[in-house]
Symmetry: C2
Subunit: 342 residues, 2 copies
């Protein structure tokens, strides 16, 4: 079984974006604020967007199940206030819930949170509860920078975030650390901000002792861990300078990396330096890089090819990356699979 832990509903029906644009326009004209009920998307429209996109690719490439969350770049937590984020998150999460009801074999939801810059994260708990208890979400996406590229929030190790962590531990769900659109012109969203956020989060976790307070808390750092594996020696050395334990003990019981690295040498590095227990298969398809690599003739984001193309992975290790680790890191996913007998 092949589980892709990182998919977003990037192909949602156009009506979703139109509704969001109306919501944004209404920030300066509150009378024009659309109601959630104004958004009408049929099951057939949902099916159409998936059958021609994600599901089509999953079938072609041989992935069985995707942990599916709202489009990351559309979270845009920097837009409007908490109420705006809250309404938007509710709509997007409900849509992913519907996807998972239409295709329970292929999609299982992860939740976006109604974060808003300067607003305490505990305000996200009702939406988190709803997504886990009512929608069956198996994870959340946590944005370490709801300001969208201005980085005004405290580090992830700060007590600011603890109310969320307490609930995550209670529900036994991991968070993927995932930023959204950059509104800072210095940072290209998917080429700089995403990767920087991964690197930044990893270093914040090295600096702190978060997992001493939350021994069972788990984070997935997407996009292959940003720059961390490539600079693994640097990070081992910095942890050492900071008098922290070895990374294996300090972080690797709690921190995992996905395989959204879009070329063979990158995946080879990842699987060479990071313990296989800490690597989770993912593609972020259909996402930032949609083209065909002229060097291979295949889609850049067809990451299964790189796992298959690895000379150093055994069959058992591939199984861990494809399925075993995901069942362990996302226990609610594991439980859902067991309930359905797979």
């Amino acid at each position: 079984m092949i589980i892709d832990v990182h998919g977003h509903y990037t192909t949602a029906p156009k009506a979703l974006e139109t509704w969001r644009n109306r919501q944004i326009a209404a920030l300066s004209d509150p009378a024009a604020m659309p109601r959630p009920a104004d958004l009408v998307i049929t099951d057939d429209e949902i099916r159409e967007t998936l059958e021609t996109n994600q599901l089509k690719q999953m079938r072609a490439r041989g992935a069985d199940l995707t942990i599916f969350s709202p489009r990351a770049s559309f979270m845009a937590h920097h837009i409007g206030d908490f109420q705006v984020s809250s309404t938007w998150a509710a709509i997007c999460n409900e849509l992913c819930h519907r996807v998972s009801r239409l295709y329970p074999q292929h999609f299982i939801p992860a939740a976006m949170l109604p974060q808003s810059p300067g607003v305490p994260p505990e305000t996200c708990l009702p939406e988190l509860r709803r997504c886990v208890e009512e929608y069956g979400a198996v994870a959340i996406n946590l944005n370490p920078d709801p300001s969208g590229g201005h980085w005004t929030s405290p580090p992830l190790t700060d007590r600011h975030w603890y109310p969320l962590y307490e609930r995550m531990v209670e529900y036994d769900i991991p968070a993927m650390i995932h930023v959204s659109t950059s509104c800072n012109p210095a940072f290209h969203t998917t080429g700089a901000h995403y990767i920087n956020a991964d690197t930044t989060a990893f270093m914040q976790l090295i600096q702190g002792d978060l997992f001493r307070d939350f021994p069972t808390l788990r984070f997935v750092i997407p996009h292959g861990g940003g720059a961390a594996p490539y600079h693994w020696g640097r990070y081992r050395g910095l942890a050492q300078e900071l008098k922290k334990p070895l990374l294996a003990e300090h972080l690797l019981r709690n921190v995992f990396f996905d395989t959204c690295v879009y070329h063979q040498p990158g995946i080879d590095l990842l699987t060479r330096v990071v313990p296989i227990d800490n690597i989770l298969f993912a593609s972020e398809m259909i996402g930032a890089v949609r083209g065909i690599d002229p060097e291979t003739g295949h889609a850049y984001d067809d990451t299964k090819r790189y796992i298959e193309g690895s000379a150093q992975l055994s069959t058992a290790q591939k199984h861990q990356i494809y399925e075993g680790n995901a069942r362990r890191v996302y226990p609610r996913l594991g439980a859902a699979l067991e309930r359905r007998g797979s």
Copy 2:
């Protein structure tokens, strides 16, 4: 001959830091502002700091010449105004000049600039001129974020920076893109801000068409290019989505990476994905990661070991990385070496 293109005077005599602390304290008490002449450092003190640190390591590891610039984390362009940065840059550059006069065989200077947030970069031109014409600087360090982690400057492709680029082209000197201390608590200086800046700069260059305007402009992206080589497929794919030429044509005549990657798998990735013509030997010794790697028993930043340990580099390629490329990318270094017959 082995040329290290990335060294900073991190071990300068304590008097330098004391003077700087007085300068910073005087920001709120202008009457207490120290004069440059208050800083007295003898040649013997300079010799002592180098003989026991950088030179000792260069001799032990077998590096011949280091391109030597003021300590990057101490540039701290976000502190004070242009006048404060200007005095500080002049002092630091003069000190590196003195180093190069005391050890002309081993150190050749690169200049820091008196950048200041919100101040036009052309204000740096007099210091740049002085460093090149009077001190023999062969390169500059250009900070893409003088705000120190708030990223308030336009991207490197913006005309904002053009006056500097015009002078760089005129002098035929490259810039190493190098940030300084982060004053944003989200970003650890050497573990996040440095690496993020490298990644950010690379993506800015992909987005723009800077080298159409400056075909001979050259940038060195330090720390192995941040996350770029690890995500080389992502960057090739993003350039493709942006309808840019292949990276070889779009950037690689103008952009180079150093080898400050502190483990064997990282260097193996770098030399596998980036053309050898674009890789310059460097260690950033003595810098961010000063410890001994328990996995190898050698210093993390002894990067020559990783070049030597590479199974894929030929002798000719090692020569390119150690020396040939540096002579080409830093023509004033090449000319200085030829003048001295080496």
